[in-house]
């Protein structure tokens, strides 16, 4: 029994790490720009599909490196073309815009790559389990966790030590003052969106290696991201990090005792958080009005 619990705990951390990657990108965008990017799941899909197209030329590693950057550029363009128009307006418009954008992107994926599921080839060594006992931990999963850790560390370092990062953090707290201090807020938002898209693209490549590609792969993943953000607290990246891990682990541990309830427990946690501590575990009061 203990072995089963340990197995599932490890598994939960792996799944949670993935949720974290997704949710962080979404959280970045929400925190600075107050835009809930409904199309985030579709950016993830695009990241995966781009990797699929690049793999024959660059191999898996090359695709893994290049695809998120391409996704980031794509996100930057989308932000400049479409999203920047709705910042000044009622929030409902940004929700609708990204919602519609999601539809367009999903259909674009269907159109370009076809409706059938596609596999993303991963290097053979990654497909092997790490030991015979821990047969369910393949090297690919370990790799995923490593990538997530590097990405998260990179993100926090970026936010803490680079100028752009500092401005983003400041902008999250008080965008007007940042603007008054002479920072180009429009450019800041664009970079922020690009970083968020980068994370989504990266998540997409990792996901594709695990579950393959299909046009609506993002749809199922976006809900756990929302919940991770709500549970962790809107406005706090560390909160999102904790939120993602929490729901990943909770879900996995529930599978031990009651597999059919693995999804339900995520919602139950969210409901509990809303009831007991509405701003989320690490959220700050009044972060988002």
């Amino acid at each position: 029994m203990l072995q089963l619990v340990l197995f599932n705990l490890t598994n939960g951390l792996i799944v949670g790490a993935f949720y974290v990657l997704m949710a962080l990108g979404l959280s970045l965008i929400i925190n600075l720009s107050n835009v809930v990017n409904f199309a985030h799941g579709n950016f993830l899909a695009i990241g995966g599909y781009l990797a699929f197209t690049l793999t024959p030329y660059l191999g898996f590693w090359g695709a893994l490196l290049v695809s998120p950057f391409l996704t980031a550029i794509f996100g930057y363009i989308i932000e400049k073309l479409l999203i920047r128009h709705v910042y000044a307006r009622n929030h409902i418009y940004s929700l609708l815009l990204t919602f519609g954008l999601g539809f367009i992107l999903q259909d674009a994926c269907r159109f370009i790559w076809g409706p059938s599921p596609l596999p993303l080839g991963i290097p053979d060594i990654l497909s092997l389990p790490i030991t015979a006992d821990l047969f369910f931990i393949t090297w690919y999963r370990v790799f995923m966790v490593v990538v997530v850790i590097v990405a998260v560390a990179g993100l926090f370092a970026f936010l803490r030590y680079t100028r752009v990062g500092m401005r983003i953090r400041a902008g999250t707290l008080d965008l007007d003052t940042v603007s008054a201090l002479g920072v180009n807020v429009a450019a800041l938002r664009s970079y922020n969106f690009a970083v968020g898209s980068f994370l989504a693209g990266l998540a997409g490549v990792l996901a594709a290696g695990q579950i393959g590609l299909n046009p609506n792969m993002g749809d199922d993943l976006i809900m756990p991201s929302f919940i991770a953000i709500i549970v962790g607290g809107v406005g706090s990246l560390t909160g999102t990090l904790l939120g993602g891990l929490l729901i990943g682990v909770a879900s996995a541990l529930t599978t031990v005792v009651y597999p059919a309830g693995a999804e339900a427990v995520i919602y139950i946690i969210m409901a509990l958080v809303l009831l007991i501590r509405p701003r989320g575990l690490l959220g700050e009061e009044g972060m988002l009005t």
Binding site: L4, F7, N8, N11, V15, A88, R89, R110, P115, S116, P117, L118, P119, G121, S127, L128, P129, F135, F136, T138, Y140, Q210, I211, G212, N214, N216, M217, D220, A252, T255, V256, P259, A260, A262, E263
Partner: protein, 418 residues
């Protein structure tokens, strides 16, 4: 916040375009036009967009080709056939709406659909109300020809009872009686597992299983459990992407060395999209293109292949083909397009070999309107010498009647309109 709405040129152009779009509403939708006198209209509703789209696209391809061929040979009752394809988008409300549209606005004579069983039910409600002849080519859930059967509805693909009965014997014989199930937690999955369990326990077998959410992508927890149980066979009842992911992870964890893998359906559309190592296991196919003992099959395969991109047809293409020809035969036997007469005519009507394309003599059983087709049990393998679609080896064939059980056991009681 000032939003000046100026009717600038781009806006004007857009409005004009929209008006034109509205005007175009007067024209008919997506149709295979047929020349000649009043055509026989067949409405085909399928989830062309959404998670089942790969299967739906195959069905629609098969249907379009079949109608073209039919029209070359004089159509139905001497009249050309017009196929109207509508997308149910994997949403019941839309499916019902399209059914209304096809029946009320387009006045179709026959309705076909849907791959999604829930939508197939909902459409059955509409067609039986409006007394329209309805064939379900590829929706699998049992009650369609079971406890919810209707006089006007026929079903081409198998029931879960049939699939389970066909496969169980072979799996027990080859591998053993201790099984582990991975099943999606909804009506189709539950009935499938229940039917497997029924057949397995009849042979003295034992089992354990997990019910998982339909769209699961991570199976480690349940595979860990399975490995601990040490079964002879692991049954993968999942569908779509979930099935594919389960297969991949099963192989990744090296479990294919410890136990056999099997299940009911692993459709060619899905087999094509898994990596080679996961192209394995013992399954049943409702139809397969490579039947060396049945010469008419090769003719069909060679004829349709160019129209579907050079690939070989799958069971889904065949389901459309059989359904459309069955409708034609029903109309020609009844000499009418009246739904009641057609339904009576099709009951127990034996389909000719060039329609059946399989060894046995197949027909839609009168008691429950279920097609008693042969079921091919065999092994999926990576592409062989026959080409990229050479993915399955038929090991045994079970007839529909053998697998289906009696009409009473399905719970179907058909009440005909007076």
């Amino acid at each position: 916040m000032s939003d000046k709405i100026r009717l600038t040129t781009p806006r004007r152009k857009f409005l004009t375009a929209t008006a034109a779009l509205g005007g175009l509403q007067l024209t008919s939708p997506f149709i295979i036009k047929a020349r000649g006198e009043t055509p026989v209209k067949i409405g085909f509703i399928d989830p062309i967009t959404g998670s089942l789209s790969a299967l739906a696209v195959s069905e629609v391809e098969g249907a379009k080709w079949t109608v073209e061929q039919m029209n070359k040979k004089g159509g139905i009752l001497g009249r050309p056939v017009e196929l109207l394809v509508e997308d149910s988008a994997n949403d019941t409300g839309t499916g019902v709406q399209k059914a209304h549209k096809l029946i009320e606005r387009d006045n179709v004579d026959i309705i076909m659909g849907d791959v999604n069983s829930g939508i197939a039910y909902a459409i059955m409600g509409v067609t039986s109300d409006k007394k329209v002849f309805h064939i379900v080519p590829g929706g699998h859930t049992d009650p369609i020809t079971g406890k919810d059967c209707k006089w006007n509805t026929f079903r081409t693909c198998n029931t879960t009872a049939m699939d389970a009965a066909a496969v169980t014997g072979e799996l027990v014989k080859r591998f053993g009686k201790k099984w582990f199930f991975i099943t999606p937690d909804y009506a189709y999955g539950q009935t499938l597992q229940a039917n497997f369990v029924k057949n397995l326990t009849a042979l003295g077998g034992t089992w354990q299983g997990d019910m998982l959410p339909i769209a699961s992508s991570d199976f480690s927890a349940t595979l860990i459990k399975a490995k601990a149980y040490k079964p002879d066979v692991l049954l993968n009842n999942m569908g779509g992407s979930a099935q594919i992911n389960c297969m991949k992870q099963f192989v990744q964890f090296g479990m294919n060395k410890d136990m056999a893998l099997g299940g009911a359906l692993f459709e060619i559309e899905s087999v094509r999209s898994v990596p080679k190592e996961a192209q394995a296991g013992w399954w049943c196919m409702e139809w397969y293109w490579n039947q060396p003992d049945v010469p008419l099959v090769k003719q069909f395969v060679d004829a349709i292949s160019p129209a579907i991109g050079g690939k070989k047809p799958t069971a889904r293409h065949w389901m459309s083909y059989v359904s459309l020809h069955a409708a034609r035969l029903a109309a020609e036997t009844a000499k009418s397009l009246d739904a009641v007469k057609m339904a009576h005519a099709l009951s127990d009507l034996e389909l000719p070999p060039e329609v059946a394309l399989m060894p046995g003599k197949i027909k839609y059983r009168a008691g429950d309107h279920q097609l008693m087709s042969d079921i091919f049990v065999g092994q999926v393998h990576p592409p062989g010498p026959g080409g990229p679609d050479d993915l399955f080896k038929i090991e045994s064939t079970v007839t529909g009647e053998q697998a289906a059980g009696s009409v009473e056991s399905t719970g179907c009681k058909i009440t005909w309109p007076s």
